[in-house]
Amino acid sequence: MAIAKKKGDDKSNYSADSARNDGDISSNEEEPNFSDPDDYVDDIPNEELLGDILKQKPKETDGVESVIVVDGVPQVGPDRIEKLQSVINKIFSKFGNIVNTHFPTNEKGHTKGFIFLEYSLPVHAQEAVKATNNYKLDKQHTFLVNLFTDFSKYEQIPDNWKPPESQKYEGQSDLYSYLLEPDAYDQFSLALTGGAQVWQNTQPDPIVLHDRPNWTQSYVKWSPLGTFFTTFHKQGVALWGGPQFSQYKKFSHAAVQFIDYSPCEKYVTTYSSQVDVHNPDQKRIIIWDIRTGQEKRSFNPDGPSAWPIFRWSHDDKYFARMGTDVLSIYETPSFGLLEKKSLKILGIQDFSWSPTDNVIAFWVAEDKDVPARVTLLEIPNRNEIRNKNLFNVAHCKIHWQKSGDFLCVKVDRYSKVRKEKNEIKYSGMYFNFEIFHMREKEIPVDSVEIKELIQAFAWEPIGSKFAIIHGESPNISVSFYEVRVGQAPLLLKKLEKRACNHLFWSPNGQFIVLAGLGSNGGGSLEFVDTQDFVIMNTTDHYQASDVEWDPTGRYVITAISNWKTKVDTGYYMWSFQGKILKRVNLDKFSQLLWRPRCHTLLDDKQLKDIKKNLKKYYAQFESKDRMRQTKASKELIEKRAALMEKFSAYRQKRIQEWIEQKPRRLELRCGIDTDELDSDVQNTEEEIVEFFVKEEFIEIE
């Protein structure tokens, strides 16, 4: 009320001023008279005059939300009240700026055991209540802390309580409907600037299933078994699934950058590099339960580390992360540390789970006289099932074969090492590939040595081959090896002088694409059948940045993303033999991803049967393909016929008009008919033009 009153005062001051001005006006006649006439009654309400300012008028209840009541405070006499105040201040100033305190006292000056504190902001009050309610000050005194507004809130609870209405159960839509596609067409997603699309790779032309503008704000990601489609937003990530791609769950985590699914799609890890201003307590890494949407555990990253920071075992039972000299393994569903403590491993550099077993492979770096070591660790019993010491090691890289049958550790070794200004410099580099036979007794290890620089390494996902790109431009070779029981790996084939820097195996093995990606790769593509090493096709997709096999190994996509370059963005689709099927140029295209398929439900015998009877099915597929082809060409021909009919009708009309205009054309060109090249018969004359042959004389002295 105080301000409103003051406003009134201002007003009276103003009229006093204007009254004073009256005197001036009489002396200076140019000024008009602003003063009210004598009989004027001020009947304009304040709301009309300064409604906007009145709205900002502080209310009595302003600031009440920032007040908390603390009960259970020790009752002290006036001599100790200052001490009490300092204790209270120490406890409560952690949560925000305390602007006002009130310690009620009785007539003797003793405090009454409850106090009032006012913070500068309501959020601080809420935090203080959350943190200090039931705070044990000492044995006798426990604080009971409430918001001041709670009193009025709980006073007004209606007497007759109504039970909440039960909500109707809504079943989830079928998340696996896409697997029932009768022709086994695969789906793929396109991320575009300002949207995302999901396509079905139907033959002969893919069709778009869902096209949603602003579906994602950065990129998209499929879950590892293809059940969920993930989109990224400012507020967090959203998971979509089912036949209509309806929202399945959303996980709010501000400014999420990366996510990582557990292999069985039970959990998802989200990572944000920023602290949410609205929720400063939220940690940077959160692991969520996908089905319930609950936050299971959260962490803050310590120090730089490679994503994914937490790596999952194949069955979602364990996840692990590496720290300095320590490997922490957690178990689900408790999300606690396995056996309540981390493993201390001095000098651990990297680790990786087997894709099929609960085995961790890790390596530790050399330290003075201690050699580097690769260890296979069985979880949960922590047995070291294999150990291999390695000498002169600069770096290691762990490559598991997808079927878990083999493990390859690429070892970068040196002949000489120097220390230069705290920087270690290696020279005379050579490379070893240590192959661990996981399925054999005692896990024997073979070694392949290559003296040249290694560009890339890749296991055949199913099978026993691996490929290596080695050498330096322009003498780059690709070598294929086969791993055999009881024998050293056998060099099957060496392709020399290739222009490639990446290897892409078909998900079912046998076929491989050798690609030259990036700025110096030129987008060269080579499709190789590794059964007999026939090069099926050599071609290119200029400036291609990505290569993606479809999950069945029937198609290959090469793409140019606008994250890399601005021209000719889009994708090409090839058959596994390297035949071009489609060229699609798309502005704003950034990412193409095939929807993964889940593991097959057929057992080995059934698979074998299918393979045996492939000829029988082949005829069916063949006729189906033919029908589709004829249907497509029929459609195209129909479309063309319609276009032609329409266009011809238009042309007929226009040609008729043109013929009618002929007299006017003749008039404009002096009566000479120039409609056709030879229509002007009278003036046409045959002219023989002689072309001069160039003659040159050179005089010789």
Partner: protein, 326 residues
């Protein structure tokens, strides 16, 4: 199809045009000297010497007696084709960007650039009895353009209308009786580089930097067809005998040095007139194509590029045999 390569210009070709009979091919370039060639064997017949700046546009009248050229030296010149001498010169305030003879060749039109503080302006001049006094005689009609400049222009059928393509992709149709705008459409997003009539002048094709060429009705400006590419299109022409169009273009000249010829896509591209489907490409230029033209008999076509060459291509028999199923 081995092309004739006409090497007579020292700088980028700006425009090429056949005369009505198609025995001669005229070319202009940024090197100030338009050339005329025998289209049959590619021998140079002569040059038109006189301009001081890049020649942006040329045209030949239907009798192949007079030749028109507009240049960056702020002038338009009318030439005698037979002797290669200047008949008259019109000095302008800014470079001449587009010029065209009317159907009767009684009149000609040209448009000046919006530059050096001068507005873009369309001039229509009488060239019936043109002589050296051409520069002093006043035009029949002047149309000042206050909006985006004229980047391309052609006469409508029968000397009655004028069609102008503008820097912002707009196309305007003008009535020459009144000098007023009849209609306008905006189907292109970027500058229109070229406009060419079909043989019967009932349709015209536009080429634009927005990566498309479009076919319009020349009377009511109805959009008939769109031909899409992934590069700027600098020129487009309609075949006089078949339902084909040819498009020339490629990556902008200013970006070419940073990219290879392969990514620049400096091919002539053939589309079906009605189906809008691409069915063929002709490689050869190592810079963007600035101008394409069909021979009036439809049996050959030429392209002029930023690389300074004019390439004359005679179609193989397979070109005439190729057909679409419908």
């Amino acid at each position: 199809m081995k092309p004739l390569i006409l090497h007579g210009h020292e700088r980028a070709i700006t425009q090429i045009k056949y005369n009505r009979e198609g025995d001669l091919l005229f070319s202009s370039s940024k090197d100030t000297i338009p050339n005329v060639w025998y289209s049959l064997n590619g021998e140079r017949l002569g040059t038109f010497n006189g301009h001081q700046g890049a020649v942006w546009c040329i045209d030949i009248d239907w009798t192949t007696t007079r030749f028109l050229s507009g240049a960056g030296d702020n002038s338009l010149k009318l030439w005698d084709v037979e002797t290669g001498t200047t008949i008259g010169t019109i000095s302008t305030n800014s470079p001449v960007r587009a010029c065209n003879f009317s159907y009767s060749a009684n009149m000609a039109v040209f448009a000046t650039d919006k530059s050096m503080g001068h507005q873009c302006e369309i001039h229509i001049i009488d060239v019936r009895n043109a002589d050296e006094s051409l520069g002093k005689s006043s035009p029949i009609l002047r149309i000042p353009i206050n909006g985006p400049r004229v980047s391309s222009l052609i006469w409508g059928a029968l000397d009655e209308t004028l069609l102008t393509g503008h820097e912002d992709g707009e196309i305007m149709q003008w009535d020459l009786q009144t000098g007023k705008k009849i209609s306008n459409i905006k189907e292109h997003d970027k500058v229109i580089m070229d406009m060419q009539m079909s043989k019967d002048a009932t349709m015209f094709i536009t080429a634009s930097k927005d990566h498309t060429a479009k076919l319009f009705d020349s009377d009511n400006l109805m959009l008939l067809k769109t031909y899409k590419t992934e590069r700027p299109v600098n020129s487009a022409a309609v075949s006089p005998i078949l339902e084909h169009v040819v498009l020339g273009g490629g990556q902008d000249a200013m970006d070419v040095t940073t990219t290879s010829a392969r990514i620049g896509k400096f091919d002539s591209r053939f589309f079906h007139l009605a189906f809008e489907e691409e069915f063929g490409r002709v490689k050869g230029h190592f810079g963007p194509i600035n101008s394409v033209a069909f021979h009036p008999d439809g049996k050959s076509y030429s392209s002029g590029g930023e690389d300074g060459y004019v390439r004359v291509h005679n179609f193989d028999q397979s070109y005439f045999e190729y057909g679409f199923d419908y």
